[in-house]
Symmetry: C2
DNA sequence: CTGTTAGCGCTTTCAG
DNA sequence: CTGAAAGCGCTAACAG
């Protein structure tokens, strides 16, 4: 196979333990021998095998992070939180991106075979029951973020309330025709699954109904992914309708930014002619002066990491579900120093609902 | 130590290979036995050891990516490129973030001990000579991106030309007092090091001199990190000077966006009262209609990944330095459909210089 | 269907 | 200072 420590030892005319010593910079090797070994390593192009190495040493742990898009600011922010916490615990972070559709199946397969990491954090994604069963069999802990899971430990926000809150805010501004933009209506994937977009939509509808308004299905727009492009297109479609909306609630800031772009291109002034509210509060939102419902993205990541870490340590968790607070960040584009005019309201406890 | 396959076998009253079979979903196990084994696994809380597993299987390879900030859009874009290429090759990607200053030393130490990955991609960072030597000893290939390295294979752009180009553009617009903003002047780290910011500055100076202008050192501003906040502060400082600049060249889009924000807060209109040009062309730039010098960030990542992959395969590369083309993206904020007015010029070959 | 027996490549006592 | 030998935990023939 590959060049091993034995080959090096033979070539250098020494024992394997000597080679090991050189590799590990152990002091007890004569300069003479050291040189010979180094030369052998060089000429043979020997590379140590990490796996073998770690097998005979203190075990190194690693957790895998499965995310669908490294291009999505929300997911990246969560990743940051995860990274920080994991790094402190000296646990490696392995990234598994599901960017390309065809890789999804095979990747999840191989993951669940437990080949790669001792724990898994799933970001904005739902596992199939078979997948879950497999992880269970291997006793590999899995934590879900951005999605409340009935069986798996998860970290999430109250998306129904978030949607309700955003809509409520628009209503309080006097809007009556409010559109809702989300990525896709795809049904929850697996048992107990519930997608953020669907939940926010529920809250949106609830707010409308409470205000005594009808729900106009034509104002609910389904896109495909959280990109500015989709937001732009959706805004174009919605505003071209007869009796167009006066306000748009986008399920993510990226979509909202697309809406903003469209408005700009059409010289529609925001918020005078069109009110826009987003979701997430990614960095771009503050630059764009976008009012939004903030999710504590980094915290979401670090909480998930904390969870997986204790699970990996075999701790039996009583509290496996972790709901994080939302914030309503109201931004005003006017004013010299915008930040002074920002308002922030925090929602911690879940709204009584049913 | 931990629960092993032997413990499970004993508890289930079977041989270890049977346990292994159950774990690997091998068909040749009676339902009876399977159940017993599964129960033993469950009650003992057995978890397979990945290292041991991979040692007796086809070797899994992994490459580590060292980056300083997961919060930096440029670095994330490079990471995306890396991820894509690595995923295709079925090589794991391990992230090592240097976010916190104190982790830098220890992390790089342990990395160079070759404990974790079979190859390393360093993003926007320079290794110390001792570090490099150690990697050499272990024959662990290292590829550098965003920085031309004399000894290590690297992927980069012609930053001198980029700076020259950006300044040239501003000059062609009639500006004579052009400021330059970069993160820090820190000297190149290690031999052969050359930092992008310094190179762009060189190009900036060259362009000014060629135009017969004096270089006003007061117009060269040093910040600390590529954040909007720093750009904002820098703009405030620069524009408060007597005889302020009429144009600002920022070494990154993030800095440029901060400048834009400051301008907005002061009701300074861009580009009429202040011209701004950035560097990188992160996604935000197009939203903000920022004229900028585009780096092919994703490509940078995938090229680096390709390099490390062939290096890991033991291929002897003749071409270890890979220079990627730059683009000048000129954006006009006026016009209904901004994209129509965008101009793009591509620079592929390095400018004759020196 | 199931147990026994070799290794995978490396680190680490333990004797020289 | 250096070599021999015993594992690290698991998989994969090989014989039943």
């Amino acid at each position: 196979m590959a060049v091993t420590i034995y080959d090096v030892a033979r070539a250098a005319g020494v024992g394997i333990s000597t080679v090991s010593r050189v590799l590990n910079e152990n002091a007890n090797v004569s300069a003479q021998t050291q040189r010979k070994v180094l030369e052998a390593i060089e000429s043979l192009g020997y590379k140590p095998n990490i796996m073998a190495r770690n097998l005979s040493r203190a075990p190194m742990r690693s957790v895998g992070v499965v995310l669908s898009y490294l291009t999505n600011p929300f997911q990246v922010a969560v990743l940051q939180g995860i990274e920080q916490t994991l790094a402190q615990a000296e646990v490696d972070l392995i990234i598994f991106s599901l960017e390309s559709q065809d890789r999804r199946k095979t990747l999840l397969e191989s993951l669940s075979e437990g080949r790669r990491s001792d724990g898994l954090i799933v970001v904005s994604f739902s596992l199939t029951p078979t997948s879950i069963a497999r992880f269970q069999r291997y006793n590999i802990p899995v934590v879900v973020t951005d999605n409340k899971d009935k069986q798996l430990p998860s970290v999430f926000v109250d998306n129904v309330y978030g949607g309700y809150w955003a809509t409520q805010h628009l209503l309080s501004l006097g809007h009556r025709r409010i559109a809702y933009l989300q990525d896709h209506f795809k049904a929850p994937n697996g048992p107990g699954g519930n997608w953020p977009g669907l939940d926010r939509r529920r809250g949106y509808i609830q707010a409308l109904l409470e205000a005594g308004l009808d729900v106009d299905l034509k104002l609910i727009h389904e896109g495909d992914g959280h990109t500015r492009q989709r937001g732009y297109e959706a805004a174009a479609t919605l505003l071209a309708r007869p009796n167009p909306p006066t306000a748009i609630f986008a399920a993510s800031d990226m979509l909202a930014l697309g809406v903003l772009e469209y408005a700009r291109s059409q010289r529609i002034s925001v918020p005078e002619d069109l009110a826009v509210i987003g979701f997430d509060d990614i960095e771009l939102a503050s630059f764009a002066n976008l009012t939004t419902v903030r999710q504590p993205m980094q915290l979401m990541g670090s909480e998930a990491a904390r969870l997986i870490l204790s699970l990996m340590n075999g701790e039996l968790l009583t509290k496996r579900q972790c709901q994080l607070p939302l914030e309503l960040v109201i931004r005003h584009s006017c004013g010299a120093d915008q930040s002074i005019h920002n308002e922030t309201k925090i929602h911690t406890l879940p709204l009584e609902r049913r």
